[in-house]
């Protein structure tokens, strides 16, 4: 392993940590406040393509250390895509099978990527007027596999697994602290399992209790894969509101228009959840004027071309002869 020359013996050596952080790139064209420096942390440059590499690796290693895997026992996990892609690629490389349970509204690109990564796929409808707090269909189906077929499946369960939080406390937080020379004042994140916000916030607050943590969430009834509106957060046992200063609700359609803007003005091929965070960061910059903010950009736009076509009028035009 040589981070300087970037030569590695296997793909796992590329996983991010303080010595090998995911890059941070400054956003230069917000046009809002020159006293507020804003950076995007590009998590799609992790080896399996998203921020979920961190939690997936921590959870997988934990299962391996507890000897929960092997001898025909693989993994089952509910996922909106990224955790599943990371887990499937890691699991298959290490010789375990993987079943991913995904909600139907997950973009086709992600479903196909899960299969390419080697996962068996269960696609289910999660949209049937669920009652708040009762868990959703994909989580329950994954739990069913884990309970009924214990000899076949271990379930990391990213919504309840402390290793999801630990991954960010151990890597994302220290990386940001070091990359900003301890100058970070604002952290901008989105909410899904809440592992990123809880782990990173805990670390940064341990270094500087004044770091502001801003969570950006889409409006209810949204169509931004991987994210949860606060009314849907009951499914995550990791959510801890004491670690968050502000929760901003942003019209979910702005996730798509801001993602397009990031591509075309900053050259950052960021996905819609990043667009949503960028919109939230803009609101806070206008409020606070001064600071050094870091946005966690979970993944890139490549997995969302079908969703982009759905939400950006005109994008599909002229794509056929």
């Amino acid at each position: 392993m040589n981070h300087e020359k970037r030569v590695y013996n296997d793909i796992f050596e590329m996983l991010p940590n303080e010595e090998n952080p995911s890059p941070m790139v400054r956003i230069n064209r917000t046009g809002l406040s020159p006293e507020f420096r804003l950076f995007a942390k590009l998590e799609w440059l992790n080896p399996f393509g998203s921020v979920k590499d961190r939690a997936a690796w921590e959870m997988l290693r934990d299962l391996e250390e507890r000897k929960e895997l092997g001898n025909g026992r693989g993994i089952v996990e509910p996922t909106s895509g990224n955790t599943g892609i990371s887990l499937a690629a890691m699991a298959r490389t290490r010789g375990y099978h993987m079943r991913a349970v995904v909600p139907n509204k997950v973009p086709l690109e992600k479903k196909v990527l899960l299969k390419i990564a080697g996962a068996d796929l269960d696609v289910i409808s999660d949209e049937l007027c669920p009652a708040p707090g009762l868990g959703d269909g994909s989580i329950n189906l994954a739990k069913t596999h884990a309970k009924a077929s214990r000899d076949r499946y271990a379930m990391p369960n990213q919504y309840e697994n402390d290793k999801n939080v630990e991954a960010h406390f151990r890597t994302t937080g220290p990386e940001i602290w070091r990359q900003t020379d301890g100058q970070v004042t604002h952290l901008f994140v989105s909410l899904g399992t809440c592992g990123t916000v809880v782990g990173t916030s805990k670390f940064l607050r341990s270094k500087n209790p004044n770091v502001k943590v801003i969570a950006v969430q889409p409006t209810e009834g949204h169509d931004v894969p991987g994210l949860r509106n606060v009314t849907q957060l009951g499914v995550s046992k990791l959510f801890d509101s004491s670690l968050i200063d502000d929760i901003l609700e942003v019209d979910f359609r702005l996730a798509y228009t801001r993602a397009l803007e990031l591509c075309q003005t900053e050259g950052l091929l960021a996905g819609p959840s990043s667009g949503l965070i960028y919109e939230g960061a803009r609101e806070i910059i206008m409020r606070d004027k001064v600071g050094l903010g870091v946005m966690i950009f979970a993944d890139n736009i490549f997995k969302y071309t079908s969703n982009m076509m759905k939400h950006i009028p005109g994008l599909a035009a002229g794509t056929q002869a």
Partner: protein, 282 residues
């Protein structure tokens, strides 16, 4: 259990566990998506698919008496058996199955409180993928009880007269007409809104955070004191396709003990398509 009017039709997950495999007790899991049953079910439970096995596959209707007899008999159920139903989506489809068993005169049918989600989340409850091969029996349905079912003429009458409770159990956005159906649903209607005179009491009002029913005093406070359901009147519950309203039908009839409660299974996908039928919005 919970001071309900008819506690005998509700069993707990613990009761089911204690009675697993006992003769005369038949477990039936009823799901809209049978992936859940295939992935794991309670030992000995047969699985019914709500869409393909409880609905007539040609005309829009519940299955016929003959088809019900074939289904029940094929699942090894005798008329004298205690049938315990449970299922996905908080027992909506199981409640629909319960309603169907009652329409076709099955004496002893019970609902497992909390459905499969409650069982799933209890550490001491097991699931299996073992296939069930029941010994088919000849099932003869009892007297058919269509009093449990509402059709359009009764619904229109209920809407016009003040002598009925009409209970709309859909989400608030469906009630106001902001949406016609929850996102992604294929069964829909030409118009959004609700039946004039209906009270909006979403089905989930009746359940606790673990998916089981709230106790009777809480249910009574909600349905009767707060929402104004008059226990002396006949009641019709409806939703979009008749499954969520089966859940509320069960609450009103068996947990609160209202005398005459019907499930309007045609629900909004029928009413919202009727030409010239009155509709209220907001």
């Amino acid at each position: 259990m919970g001071n309900y009017s008819h506690p005998e039709v509700l069993v707990s997950t613990d009761w089911v566990q204690e009675n697993l495999g006992k003769p005369g007790i038949k477990l039936v899991e009823i799901d809209v998506d049978t992936k859940a049953y295939d992935a794991g079910h309670i030992a000995g439970a047969v699985g019914f698919n709500w869409q393909t096995q409880l609905q007539d596959q040609v005309r829009r209707d519940i299955i016929s008496k003959e088809a019900f007899e074939k289904l029940a008999g094929g699942a090894g159920i005798s008329p004298s058996d205690t049938v315990v139903v449970y299922g996905d989506n908080n027992n909506w489809f199981a409640a629909y199955g319960f309603w169907l068993f009652k329409i076709y005169g099955h004496q002893d049918v019970r609902l497992m409180n909390g459905g499969r989600v409650k069982w799933l989340n209890e550490a001491n409850k097991l699931l299996t993928t073992d296939k069930v091969s029941p010994q088919p029996v000849a099932y003869k349905a009892g007297p058919v009880n269509m009093e449990l079912r509402a059709f359009v003429p009764q619904v229109l009458e209920a809407s016009k007269s003040a002598s009925f409770n009409l209970v709309d159990v859909r989400s608030p956005d469906e009630f106001t007409g902001k949406v016609i159906a929850p996102p992604g649903m294929t069964e829909t209607a030409q118009r959004g809104g609700h039946i004039p005179g209906a009270k909006s009491i979403p089905w989930s009002t009746a359940v606790a955070p673990d998916g089981s029913f709230k106790p009777a005093d809480e249910l009574r406070a909600i349905y009767i004191d707060q929402k104004g359901v008059d226990p002396k009147k006949d009641t019709i519950a409806y939703c979009r396709i008749g499954e969520r309203s089966s859940h509320t039908w069960f609450v009103l009839k068996y947990l609160l003990g209202l005398d005459k409660v019907k499930n309007y299974d045609g629900s909004w996908t029928e009413y919202g398509n009727l030409v010239a039928a009155p509709i209220e919005k907001a």
